[in-house]
Amino acid sequence: MKTTQNSPKYSYYPGCSLHTSAKEFDLSTKVVLDALGTEWEELQDWSCCGGSIAGGVNRNVGLALAARNVVLAQQQERDLLASCSGCYNKSAKAAKALAEPEQREELRPLLKEMGLDLPEKQVKVRNVVDVLANDLDISPAIKRPLTGLKVACYYGCLMNRPEDITGWDSAVNPMAMDKLAKICGAEVLDFRAKTKCCGGPILVPQEKVAFELTKAILDEAQELGADCVVLACPLCSTNLELRQPDIEKAYGVSYKLPILYITEIIGLAMGIAPRKLGLDKHLVSAQSVLSKI
């Protein structure tokens, strides 16, 4: 484990989902970061990043919403740590724009409208998976290896695409979560659907299309005999877990496939109590995973 005094302090940005439908992601992220000695503080006065939707309604609103949180992190002088892939992607894109002189001048009046001045200090925007896989060393903290647990790691879209915005892992065959799950002692399956889209942003107005996309992911995980799918995006989880019963009903299939966040898996392997990680909060019960380890 890296020494505490050298590790950076992060502004943790939970986004709209982590305080509600993705509570277990919030809990497990905080518990794991604490256990690894990483300092964090919640980003003060954060707001919604606008997701994949706001920019398609109004360009200026989309830019301002995404940049607002990055500017707050700059003012609070800490790197922004996002867990939700959507928040991460939008914030990383905004941070890149804020660092480029021409786009910075385009953003300045927009943020002025939101009551914010642009600080000179730039900050990095980081994803929780990136920090866990590339900055921290979790291996000494593993106390209870997840031997025999078959996991399919699902990355989705926004964590690793487009590469010029994300860039820390492959857009075609990302391995960060595979690596983390392997360190946790789990058997990592070769999951071809790992970067397929679950249809998150069009779930409500184009339900049928989104269900079809999600079904393809669940189908492959089931075929491979996965005990659970491991991911790091609340929107993907909404489709894969919360809508799993709807998909089972619509297509006459049965999955009962637990969908866990990578931080829950790491927490379990570190020997942290399942309740502290929020494993009791899943709508598709994670009991089958707990009884296997």
Binding site: D45, W46, E113, R161, G200, I202
Partner: protein
């Protein structure tokens, strides 16, 4: 003559080997007026004129089979200035913003961002469907408090019917402590609301000039 017609007519200079700069791949006349509007709506990122029609975007698109104009065709139509077909296309609302096209495009066109830009134009031009309605309500909901409150979003979009339909899941979420009864908000919702309102107002001005429809080969 409007400024838009002017921009369509100029630019006839020759490139190397006699290829005309305004004739990209298939010899069609390029309509720069609509391209310019898309670029204005999408920032520098929307480098539409660089498209060489290779089709990598449509090849990787998870929803291409359901679209009336898969991404490659959509970009071609924008190049040709067929703006009516473009803004009426269901492609805009079937795109799930997975960015596979943008990640793979060998010419740096960023089709997913082109689509995002065209969506804003379509809304300005009065296109209405479930997706435009949902997306606009989504932004209105954020505008209220800065942080999304999902039950209210579902109600605003689908009315009481949506709430009833989602009730079983909602109850389960509430029992697990995953549905807060009260919405969260930013420290100063007033500034936030006015800010978003002003930003919305500042960008509606773009919609006044409509590009000429290109009398193409359709």
């Amino acid at each position: 003559m409007t400024t838009l017609q002017k921009t369509t007519k100029k630019k006839k200079f020759k490139c190397f080997f006699g290829i005309k700069a305004d004739r990209q791949v298939d010899g069609d006349r390029m309509n720069t007026a609509f391209q310019q509007r898309v670029r204005k709506a999408g920032g520098k990122a929307a480098a539409i004129d660089a498209c060489m029609q290779c089709g990598t975007c449509s090849g990787g698109c998870p929803n291409a089979d359901k679209m009336d104009l898969p991404p490659r065709s959509l970009v071609l139509m924008i190049q040709r200035g067929e703006w009516e077909a473009v803004i009426k296309s269901d492609t805009l609302w079937l795109c799930s913003s997975c960015h596979t096209c943008t990640s793979r495009c060998p010419r740096g066109v960023r089709p997913s961002e082109v689509i995002e830009a065209v969506k804003t134009i379509a809304i300005q031009e009065g296109i209405e469907n479930n997706s435009t309605r949902f997306n606009q309500i989504f932004v209105e909901q954020i505008q209220k408090r800065g942080i999304l409150f999902e039950p209210e979003l579902m109600y605003a979009y689908g009315g009481i019917e949506a709430i009833l339909q989602q009730a079983p899941m909602g109850i389960q979420l509430a029992l697990k402590g995953k549905l807060s009864p009260l919405p969260h908000k930013v420290k100063d919702p007033k500034t936030f609301q006015t800010g978003i309102a002003n930003l919305k107002a500042s960008s509606t001005g773009q919609s006044q000039t409509q590009p000429e429809k290109n009398s193409g080969h359709f």
